[in-house]
């Protein structure tokens, strides 16, 4: 199903707002992982404005689609997404990572309505997603399950246990999206471990694989809406992204894995995002 012009506009507008909120949240709370949040803003916008069947007024609807942010360190982007999508007031983002706030720097279901799983330790989201996809199949529900992982996360063995499980069980209602920004915490993700050929790895584990520009919301939505894949396999989307995307001085600079923006940085970043 091709996205309509309106949908594409909405996804683009959402991505821009997610980025602005994430920059402000990191600035306010001095929280890390801004580069990771900016990297996946378009995936989140495509998912929540162009793919997921979710109702912010009924976040526990058993038939809803599930989205798991397995790269939990990008929590600011998820919270911004959920707030902008109407799960809770945008004003609540002001308290993100502040003492006493339940929106911690890694998300949990008690953080905010709409968070499906507690993540932050890498390699947990896909096994949980497998269980949700399997549960939907047992219950005869049309639920689709999307799991967003980082490329560094591909280091974790549990990812590949889950990949084999999903391939073996032919979980056609499961989609893994890999935010392939080519950085992990302390180095290039293709140099730390032998990550490439990443798409071939997923194919070898019994998945159908699509590679897309991870900042093209229309292409992302089209790929995600390809679920269930006609091949009868689970679907992996390798999203080629740029860490820190949208703010020129953060793009592909891994210092922004941990750094929080100064007042100056904030003003420049917001100006760039607004003008984009």
């Amino acid at each position: 199903m091709p996205a309509t012009t309106d949908t594409v506009a909405a996804m683009r507008a959402a991505a821009k707002e997610i980025r602005k909120q994430a920059v402000m949240m990191s600035h306010r709370s001095r929280a890390a992982h801004l580069g990771s949040a900016l990297s996946c803003a378009d995936v989140l916008a495509a998912a929540y404005w162009g793919v997921l069947r979710v109702d912010p007024k009924n976040p526990a609807d058993p038939d809803r689609d599930r989205f798991i942010l397995s790269k939990g360190h990008a929590a600011s982007a998820l919270f911004a997404t959920l707030a902008l999508r109407g799960f809770f007031p945008v004003e609540a983002l002001a308290d993100y990572a502040k003492p006493g706030c339940h929106m911690e720097e890694h998300p949990t279901p008690h953080s905010a309505p709409g968070v499906e799983a507690a993540t932050g330790s890498l390699g947990h989201g896909l096994p949980i997603g497998c269980g949700m996809a399997l549960g939907a199949r047992i219950a005869g529900r049309h639920t689709r399950v999307f799991v967003l992982m980082s490329d560094g996360e591909q280091n974790e063995g549990s990812v590949w246990e889950a990949a084999m499980f999903a391939g073996g069980q032919k979980l056609t209602n499961l989609c893994a999206v890999i935010d392939f920004n080519r950085w992990q915490a302390t180095g290039r993700s293709c140099e730390v471990l032998a990550l490439e050929p990443l798409a071939d790895k997923w194919r070898a584990f019994g998945w159908s694989v699509v590679e897309v520009d991870g900042h093209d919301v229309a292409a992302l939505a089209k790929a995600m809406n390809g679920l269930p894949d006609p091949s009868g396999k689970p679907l992996a989307i390798v999203a080629h992204t740029v860490k820190g995307k949208g703010v020129s001085f953060m793009e592909d600079d891994n210092n922004w894995h941990y750094r929080a923006p100064s007042d100056d940085d904030l003003a420049r970043a917001l100006a760039e995002l607004e003008g984009a």
């Binding site: 058993p62 949990t108 279901p109 499906e116 799983a117 507690a118 330790s121 390699g123 947990h124 896909l126 096994p127 949980i128 997603g129 497998c130 269980g131 949700m132 996809a133 399997l134 549960g135 939907a136 199949r137 047992i138 219950a139 639920t143 063995g157 549990s158 246990e161 889950a162 084999m164 499980f165 073996g168 069980q169």
Partner: protein, 306 residues
């Protein structure tokens, strides 16, 4: 105990369509009836315990009541962080069943022993730690554990253990079962050494010692009322378990004792010690090495009583 597990989980699944059984590539023929009755509620997850535990969490987050089943050390240590975060942090109704608890697989070597599992699992918030003493307790504990609301660890033995309960006891998670009264010593046993504890009490009684036994099938939450009564009424409380000296039931009791000083009874700890059990031989042989037979326990208790 494992046959009681298979029989009970099959019976429970007939009543509760939410029960899903996940196996770590073990016990296949044992679950033939379950698989025959509920082919869409049994999954061999392969030798991949981390994923199996995450799958259980995903199922539970979707309204199911999953049970994971494989050899105890693999279903605990291997996937400890998945248990901690996926099950305990979410506080999900999942039963982690470990077969071959303690030294049940003694002859297979230390890779297959689990003498640290109680210590690990009871350290986790929300987790209940259940160590049945015989097949009867397996069935009763499992039936309550699947009801949730949170996660449970069910530490099973192997097969053909002696049955201690000749009549079905009133069993409640968190409440010790008094099997025989004793004024001099109360043996608090958890798990599959229960027949040895009963044997020790028998030997001691024959020597004129008033020896009681309780099955402390639940290590967490600990039955503190029962501890208070035992420490107030006896001269000695002996904790017996097929578990290392660090952090098992005796560790839990010692923690309680530290918080409640001035007790009448002193504590004697009978366990597998602080080393790996390294020697060929069956469970009986391993128990002899560790002093966990009825005879050895009775001797240790008699000595402690003076």
């Amino acid at each position: 105990m494992r046959n009681a597990f298979a029989k009970t989980i099959t019976a429970l699944a007939k009543e509760d369509p939410r029960i899903v059984l996940l196996s770590g590539d073990i016990g296949n023929r044992m679950f033939d009836e379950f698989k025959g009755l509920f082919p869409d509620r049994f999954y061999n997850c392969g030798v991949a315990e981390a994923n199996m535990t995450g799958v259980a969490a995903g199922l539970a987050l979707s309204g199911f009541r999953p049970v994971t089943y494989t050899i105890a050390p693999f279903n605990t240590y291997r996937c400890f962080e998945q248990i901690r975060l996926d099950l305990c942090y979410h506080n999900l109704p999942v039963v982690v069943a470990g077969v071959g608890g303690g030294l049940a697989y003694a002859g297979l070597g230390a890779t297959h022993h689990s003498c640290e599992d109680i210590a690990c699992l009871r350290s986790l918030p929300n987790m209940r730690v259940l160590c049945p003493g015989d097949a009867v307790e397996v069935g009763l504990l499992l039936a309550q554990a699947v009801k949730g609301p949170g996660p449970s660890y069910l530490r099973l033995g192997k097969k053909n253990e002696p049955v201690v309960h000749q009549v079905q006891p009133a069993l409640e998670i968190g409440k010790a079962i008094l099997l025989r009264e004793g004024a001099d010593v109360m043996i608090l046993n958890t798990g599959n050494t229960l027949p040895e504890a009963m044997g020790a009490a028998e030997i001691l009684t024959g020597r004129g010692v008033s020896a009681g036994v309780a099955s402390v099938h639940t290590v967490k939450p600990l039955d503190k009322e029962f501890l208070a009564r035992s420490f107030a009424s006896c001269r000695l409380v002996a904790v017996m378990e097929e578990h290392g000296s660090a952090g098992g039931l005796s560790g839990a009791v010692a923690e309680w004792l530290a918080d409640h000083p001035g007790q009448k009874a002193r504590l004697l700890r009978l366990n597998t010690g602080e080393h790996f059990v390294v020697a060929c031989g069956d469970q009986r042989h391993a128990r002899e090495l560790c002093g966990l037979t009825a005879t050895a326990a009775a001797a240790a208790i008699a000595k402690a009583l003076g």
